[in-house]
Amino acid sequence: MSSHVVPLKVYIGVFLALLFLTGLTTWVAFIDLGSFNTVVALAIATVKMLLVILFFMHVRSSSGLTRVVVAAGFFWLALLIAFTLSDELTRKWSPIPSSWGPGTSQSQPQ
């Protein structure tokens, strides 16, 4: 088999790092950083994702071909979000559906 056995303490270390980052992101959310709260939360989530992908999902020791496929998946996601936002944020063209408008206490879009 191509993959080697990762030492136990690496897995435990990654696990503890993920728990620490979960606590950190929750703690930071209670501090007022303005719009940077979102930036910090997404940065921490990205670090956690990379830890899971590289160590738990063994991409650190996988082949170049697999890495390209992994990167392609997230590249497409980046395209999807970047082009959607570039369109959406440069013009206000999404009205609230009228049936969801304010004024009704019981909202049931039919």
């Binding site: 056995v5 929750t26 939360a41 921490i44 936002l85 304010p102």
Partner: protein, 242 residues
């Protein structure tokens, strides 16, 4: 996926006699390493489609959050951050036990594989238990489920429709994630049965490895859902929870 999990019974006899070959090697692969690589790559191609499957939701969430941030903040603050954080820890624990189950196969320890796979399923079920019986139950009692019993509150003012939109995203995203968890637990139950029968060895554990990739992917989705749903715009000035 089913093809990878299902053992190639039909091919077992063809290779059983070939001394140099593992009985797990399908005839269309040169060697075990190539077969492992192909299975791994196929799973990652599937996961790339999963990234985009969830990505559509994340993209539309981002658009509406940018348009209606005040309503989304009100909605986010109605969620109990303690449940979200606890569930994140539970899922991370399940990812650890999944990774260790694969390690147990790599080192040829059958009982450890079975124990760790069962532990992974228990943690996955604990996640779903917290989500369904605490969080969603509270949401129902507080009339926060769109299409079921959602009620506008006077203090939301003109933001009320946007609060409801936030809860539409919350329930669709967490439901889709929960469905993936349930499928994952189903996969793990098959793997546990295979592991108990000694199907995996340091030489062959591809079904474990690719199912582990799926399980960790579902974990990653939650790693992003937690801050995006529970921690919008900061929780400062808000007590934890309801």
């Amino acid at each position: 996926m089913a093809d990878l999990v299902a053992h190639g019974v039909a091919h077992r006899d063809e290779h059983g006699s070939a001394g140099a070959h593992s009985q797990n090697l399908r005839h269309h692969f040169d060697n075990m390493s190539q077969q492992f690589e192909a299975g791994n790559l196929g799973m990652w191609v599937f996961l790339a489609t999963e990234v985009l499957f969830f990505g559509g939701l994340f993209a539309s969430y981002t658009v509406y959050r940018a348009l209606y941030l005040p309503g989304f903040e009100i909605g986010s603050h109605l969620l109990d951050v303690r449940f979200g954080a606890a569930n994140t820890a539970v899922l991370i624990g399940s990812s650890l036990s999944m990774a260790l189950a694969i390690r147990a196969a790599q080192t040829g320890r059958r009982n450890a594989q079975v124990f760790l796979l069962v532990l992974t399923m228990i943690l996955g079920a604990a996640f779903l238990g917290i989500k369904f019986s605490f969080e969603w139950r509270n949401d129902y009692l507080e009339h926060l489920i769109p299409g079921v019993n959602f009620l506008y509150r006077p203090e939301w003012g003109a933001n009320a429709p946007h609060v409801q939109l936030f809860f539409c995203f919350y329930f669709i995203m967490t439901s889709l994630h929960a469905i993936h968890m349930i499928i994952g637990i189903g996969l793990l139950s098959v793997l546990t049965w295979m592991a108990a029968r000694g199907r995996f060895s340091p030489d062959y554990y591809t079904p474990l490895e690719v199912s582990g990739l799926y399980w960790h992917f579902v974990d990653i989705v939650w790693i992003f859902l937690f801050p995006l749903l529970y921690l919008i715009g900061g929780r400062y000035g808000i007590g934890g929870g309801h």
